[in-house]
């Protein structure tokens, strides 16, 4: 039992370290990708190819003056960034990063905690995340910060609805709230993306909004709000805010990969596992197969992180009313329609085909409807 406990704590520590390490290097890759997309070369001075850049950035942040404005609420001002970071890190605990490790006769899951309400945990914690921003923006006693914080709050609330509804479609298919069983049902190449293309688009859009990433980065738009909720922050407090955004991005990518792209599943995984078990014996082979799955999962995560950055340097920021329009008038109705289609497909017994037929029927109906009843509006 002791050794299981030890391994479990090692896994939890490992997940923490990996989240932080990946977030640190996300800051570096964000700059590199931005540079490449803009035909520049990006940071390349600190160490070979600039790979020590995150360290240099962190060092710089630590040596800046840690300033608290006189009129700010001191304790809340400190609490804001801490809360943002805490909630960002907590979500990664329930994500199944791999299958399981056989050790000493025990089967240990490669996951912080396996709870049967995994997805609820993610949602609960993510919706707490907005408190970090809200408290920070409010405590600064600066109207621009407050605007940023309010924008963050209302944006997160409106997009969480559509996000939740698009998740419910997934839950109807998997009939479980546990992230692990959702992953296990996507065994091999049976990924949810094939059943839920519309759900995926909705979820992706909402997760951009939840992470406050461009094109939904209204809480921190420097040209309207000075810098938004973190205007008054400096030094490592600002660092924590920015860093928590990157941790969030990592976790969101992981959730995306888990829910829609099969987590650690990949086509031909049974064959690989059988080969490895044949080659290295029952225990080592199984562990190696888990390792391969984990690596593939990380590949998917990195791909989504890249997509996040790619979109950031492609799309311009929304106007605030457009953002609300999109959330309430487009995404929520669409996710309800998606829910209906999924429900019909589940009842029909042929989820894959019925989902696509449902989607096609909806598109045709919508097209005809907008032609007949549509107002002559030129934008959404």
């Amino acid at each position: 039992m002791d050794s299981v406990f030890l391994i479990k704590s090692l896994i939890i520590l490992g997940i923490f370290a990996i989240s932080l390490g990946i977030a640190a290097y996300e800051t570096y890759f964000e700059r590199v990708i931005a540079a490449y997309i803009q035909d520049r070369v990006g940071p390349d001075r600190a160490g070979p190819f600039g790979i020590l850049q995150p360290l240099a950035d962190a060092g710089k942040l630590f040596f800046k003056e840690d300033f608290i404005p006189t009129m700010a609420d001191k304790w809340l001002f400190i609490l804001g960034p801490s809360l943002a970071m805490l909630t960002a890190l907590m979500t990664s605990a329930v994500i199944p990063f791999g299958d399981s490790i056989l050790f000493d006769g025990h089967e240990i899951l490669v996951q912080g905690i396996e709870v049967n309400i995994g997805i609820l945990w993610v949602f609960g914690v993510v919706s707490l995340g907005v408190y970090g921003i809200l408290i920070g923006g409010w405590a600064s006693n600066n109207k621009y910060s407050l605007y940023g914080a309010i924008r963050a709050a209302s944006q997160n609330i409106s997009y969480e609805l559509a996000m939740g509804l698009s998740i419910i479609a997934i839950l109807m298919m998997s009939e479980s709230l546990s992230l692990r069983s959702i992953v296990e049902q996507q065994h091999g190449f049976n990924w949810n993306i094939f059943y839920q293309p519309m759900g995926f688009v909705i979820f992706l859009t909402c997760s951009f909004a939840e992470c406050n990433r461009t094109p939904f980065d209204l809480p921190e738009s420097e040209n309207e709000l000075v810098a938004g909720y973190h205007t008054e922050y400096g030094s490592m407090k600002l660092g924590l805010y920015l860093f928590s955004e990157y941790v969030n991005m990592f976790v969101t990518s992981a959730v995306l990969a888990t829910l829609f792209f099969g987590g650690f599943n990949y086509p031909g995984m049974d064959w690989v596992a059988a080969k490895l078990i044949g080659g290295f014996g029952e225990v080592t082979g199984h562990n190696l197969a888990t390792l391969v799955g984990t690596l593939i999962f990380f590949g998917k995560i990195f791909f989504f992180i890249f997509v996040f950055m790619w979109v950031r340097w492609t799309l311009p920021r929304f106007r605030y009313d457009q953002l609300m329009d999109l959330g309430w008038k487009a995404l929520i109705p669409l996710s309800v329609v998606n829910l209906l289609i999924t429900a019909g497909a589940q009842l029909s017994g042929m989820p894959l085909i019925a989902n696509w037929i449902g989607l096609a029927i909806f598109l045709v109906l919508f097209y005809l409807g907008s032609n007949i009843f549509g107002t002559k509006k030129t934008s959404l």
Binding site: I37, V41, D44, W310, W313, L315, F366, T378
Partner: protein, 188 residues
């Protein structure tokens, strides 16, 4: 009334369903940025890699010598008069016997100073000089200084070194572009 023939007719039809969903537009935009991701970078990595500044660049001053190594400046003071920033000052002296190999004219500048803190690199001194003595180099900046002692450039910094004569590398835009093409990662 049509003012130019570049006018384009705007498309005012209502957006189609695909356009209103934004998705094709977003995909197209992402395709464009992805193309740039793999394209050639235009950056010049400055300290290691410098670029030819161009024949019309006005930089560090130089006091030219003639072909025999004699200083051309005759301390006439016209550059100082022309200078809008009053950056130039000089002390004239008479050439004595035995110095003919040093100075071209009977009068020369015993001291010639340019205050680089005042100079605005307008090039008027260059234009004013009747002896073609003072020029602004096209290939060299005045280096950064951190102390006021370093800003007054005397003859030691200005007079041309005969072993390393200054010549203009390019005179025309075409020549300049040829030089750029040799130096840069991107061809202009």
């Amino acid at each position: 009334m049509q003012l130019t023939n570049r006018a384009k007719k705007t498309d005012k039809r209502p957006l189609t369903l695909a356009e209103r969903s934004y998705l094709p537009g977003i995909a197209q935009g992402m395709g464009i940025t992805l193309k740039h991701f793999f394209s050639k970078k235009a950056t010049i990595r400055y300290p290691e890699q410098t670029r030819y500044l161009g024949p019309v660049f006005r930089g560090h001053h130089i006091l030219k010598r003639d072909e025999e190594g004699r200083e051309r400046c005759t301390a006439c003071g016209l550059c100082a008069v022309a200078c809008p920033a009053e950056a130039i000052s000089m002390v004239a002296a008479e050439r004595v016997k035995g110095e003919e190999h040093l100075y071209r004219e009977e009068k020369y500048a015993a001291a010639y100073e340019i205050n680089m803190l005042r100079c605005i690199f307008c090039g008027l001194c260059e234009e004013a000089c009747p002896k073609e003595a003072v020029y602004l180099r096209h290939d060299k900046f005045v280096p950064v200084f951190t102390n006021r002692d370093q800003v007054i450039y005397g003859k030691d910094q200005l007079v041309e070194d005969m072993n390393n004569r200054y010549e203009r590398d390019a005179w025309t835009k075409e020549e300049m572009q040829k030089l750029w093409a040799k130096q840069d990662p991107v061809n202009y």
